[in-house]
């Protein structure tokens, strides 16, 4: 039988960081053996989801089942005790037992086995995670990465039928992280159980991801392979739009899969922008957001520059606001064209304005990097 975790639950929750931020988790998905990444901002309900699966929190309604048993079914009043679920859980703060050595921490979950079996299993996991030399140390004598490994070993050694990892690598440096990710991948290759891996790091998503679920305010808003989901236009949402001074309606004109970019026509101006590739077809309506601070201004046409978007225009106003200058540039009106033109706000420093002598009527070039163009569903 394939080992699949089947989840469909509702649960009200309040965020860890602020009790006032509450939401309702409403998640339904199936996680097959292997990594399923739960991706989302803090307060999205990721930890609540894991706690429901582990049994530390009871969902208001719904059902959670593994391949061979039902863990929760509120309709049938099933709620398996935490200790019987056989779910490995690596907590965000690890929760190592401070009064026990590495070896004791790891053997803790093996109480039901006889002593010889306990020792051989602990030995095997100590070696495979390269922490055998730490066996007699207590958690306060370990480094961050070592503690992480011990916590991982403690969960893996019990041979769980589902593994939950709550931002297990968030506090680690890049090299340590990469090492532990390798170990996790190796374990996954031999054990094939569903692994739910919570993170808000894009690096980890791409390093581990077979599947990604994007959680936002308790809802699953996207699911699929990492490159599909993380590049999808609905990654930018209305809330995130707030930070963009420039938001334009646009139409996809061409898709360059091989280069990972697209060409979009902005509104009905003649302006075209090169943007990152998202899952969208030619002709699709999108919105493009560009922060005023991400745009460069040049007074001569820049040459030999990596930015792909060079747009000629004219300064129509330059207003000082406190310590920055907001220049409004009109572009896309070439003589003889019917195009409506496009007004773009650009933030400059006072010294930049003075050096370039930016005043009304001055001809300029807007310089915008491809990845400064943020795409949203239209």
């Amino acid at each position: 039988m394939p080992r699949v975790l089947d989840v469909s639950i509702q649960k009200k929750f309040s965020s860890q960081s602020s009790q006032s931020k509450t939401g309702e988790l409403n998640a339904a998905f199936q996680a097959p053996a292997g990594f399923t990444i739960i991706f989302g901002a803090s307060g999205a309900g990721k930890t609540t989801l894991l706690n429901c699966i582990a049994g530390l929190v009871r969902p208001e309604s719904g059902r959670i089942a593994t391949a061979d048993r039902v863990l929760v079914d509120t309709d049938r009043h099933i709620d398996a005790p935490v200790a019987d679920r056989r779910i490995g859980y690596v907590f965000q703060d690890l929760a190592l037992f401070p009064h026990m050595t590495t070896e004791q921490n790891i053997a803790y979950g093996l109480a039901k086995l006889d002593r010889r079996e306990q020792e051989s299993r602990a030995q095997a996991i100590l070696e495979s995670l390269k922490i055998a030399q730490l066996r007699h140390r207590k958690p306060n004598q370990l480094s961050g990465g070592e503690r992480q490994r011990v916590a991982l070993a403690r969960a893996l050694v019990t041979d769980p039928c589902v593994l939950l990892l709550d931002e297990p690598l968030a506090a680690l440096d890049y090299a340590t992280k990469a090492n532990i990710l390798d170990d996790l991948r190796r374990w996954n290759a031999t054990h094939r159980v569903p692994i739910l891996y919570v993170t808000h790091s894009r690096d980890e998503v791409f390093a581990l991801g077979e599947r990604v679920l994007v959680l936002e305010r308790g809802q699953i808003i996207a699911r699929g392979a990492p490159h599909e989901v993380l590049a999808a236009p609905h990654m930018e949402t209305v809330a995130q739009l707030a930070g963009f001074e420039n938001i334009f309606d646009a139409t996809v004109e061409a898709v360059h899969e091989d280069r990972g970019t697209m060409t979009c026509r902005v509104g009905n101006s003649g302006v075209r922008l090169e943007t990152p590739l998202v899952r969208a077809d030619v002709g699709a309506k999108l919105r493009i957001g560009i922060r005023s601070g991400d745009i460069l201004l040049a007074t001569a046409e820049p040459r030999e520059i990596s930015a792909r978007n060079l747009i000629p225009g004219v300064v129509i106003s330059a207003e000082r606001r406190d310590m920055i200058v907001v220049a409004r540039v009109k572009c896309g009106v070439s003589s003889g064209s019917e195009a409506a033109g496009l007004e773009v706000d650009v933030h400059l420093t006072l010294s930049a304005r003075d050096a370039l002598r930016l005043v009304e009527g001055r001809a300029v070039w807007l310089v915008v990097k491809t990845h400064s163009c943020h795409l949203m569903a239209g």
Binding site: S42, A54, G55, L56, P81, V82, A83, D84, R85, R86, I87, G88, Y89, F91, Q92, D93, L94, A95, L96, F97, P98, H99, Y108, G109, A111, K112, K138, P139, N140, G144, R147, Q148, R154, A155, T158, E167, A170, A171, L172, H200
Partner: protein, 237 residues
């Protein structure tokens, strides 16, 4: 120095702290982890001896232990005599009187154990029983020691309840504090002073031990607050 009274007092205090260890741990566990609405009532009852005059407690105990109460009658049919003015009655009264001195430090220590550790223990398949003995109790060492020593010391110095329930029968219910009272009544200040000084020194040593243990100097070599400091807090995103 009335050695008989001293021996009796030490025996009483040892029995009472042992009984409170057995009784106080489950009560403290329940107070710490129960989510019952009426939990506050139990907490109030446990704390009552802290504020009640010992004579009030002693008076009601005397009634309860006497031959007219169900408890007294039950004991009488069982043993042929009532509990009042016996050593057993004294033990019972002292247990009630010292209850908060054991339960409160126990409960405070349990509450200080990081709940994530309990969650981790459960996900590793441990029963509540195992979680209590392997995680909660070892991490509450200093608090448990404090509770035991405080109830021991408190029983040593108890007067009002003893006088009400036990009276003043040499070798049966006559404790050190009663002995001191007798000496003062008899204007034998020198003898009262000798006994009082012993009590003072014993109490001081007991409390010094408690405070030393709480600083992690004696007990475990590592109490929890120190462990947390050294961890620099668990890594958190």
């Amino acid at each position: 120095m009335d050695w008989q009274a001293l021996a009796l007092t030490l025996r009483l205090a040892a029995l009472v702290s042992a009984a409170l260890l057995c009784l106080g741990l489950p009560i403290a566990y329940w107070i710490t982890y129960s989510r019952r609405r009426w939990k506050f009532l139990v907490e109030a009852v446990v704390a009552l001896p802290l504020v009640l005059p010992p004579t009030v407690l002693g008076f009601y105990l005397l009634i309860a232990l006497g031959p007219r109460s169900p408890l007294g009658r039950f004991w009488q049919t069982l043993t042929g005599h009532t509990l009042a003015f016996t050593f057993e009655g004294l033990v019972l009264g002292s247990i009630l009187y010292s209850l908060p001195f054991a339960v409160q430090p126990f409960a405070a220590a349990f509450a200080a154990v990081d709940p994530r550790l309990l969650a981790a223990s459960a996900t590793l398949g441990a029963s509540r029983w195992r979680t209590f003995f392997r995680i909660i109790l070892p991490l509450s060492g200093a608090g448990v020691l404090t509770g035991i020593v405080l109830s021991f010391a408190h029983t040593l110095g108890e007067f009002g309840v003893v006088l009400m329930v036990g009276g003043n029968i040499p070798g049966v219910t006559r404790t050190v504090s009663i002995d001191i009272f007798d000496k003062v009544q008899a204007v034998d200040y020198a003898a009262a002073n000798r006994t009082a000084a012993v009590l003072l020194v014993v109490s001081f040593l007991a409390l010094s031990g408690v405070y030393a243990a709480n600083r992690g100097a004696l007990f475990f070599g590592m109490n929890q607050s120190r462990a947390r400091r050294e961890n620099g807090g668990a890594p958190r995103a």
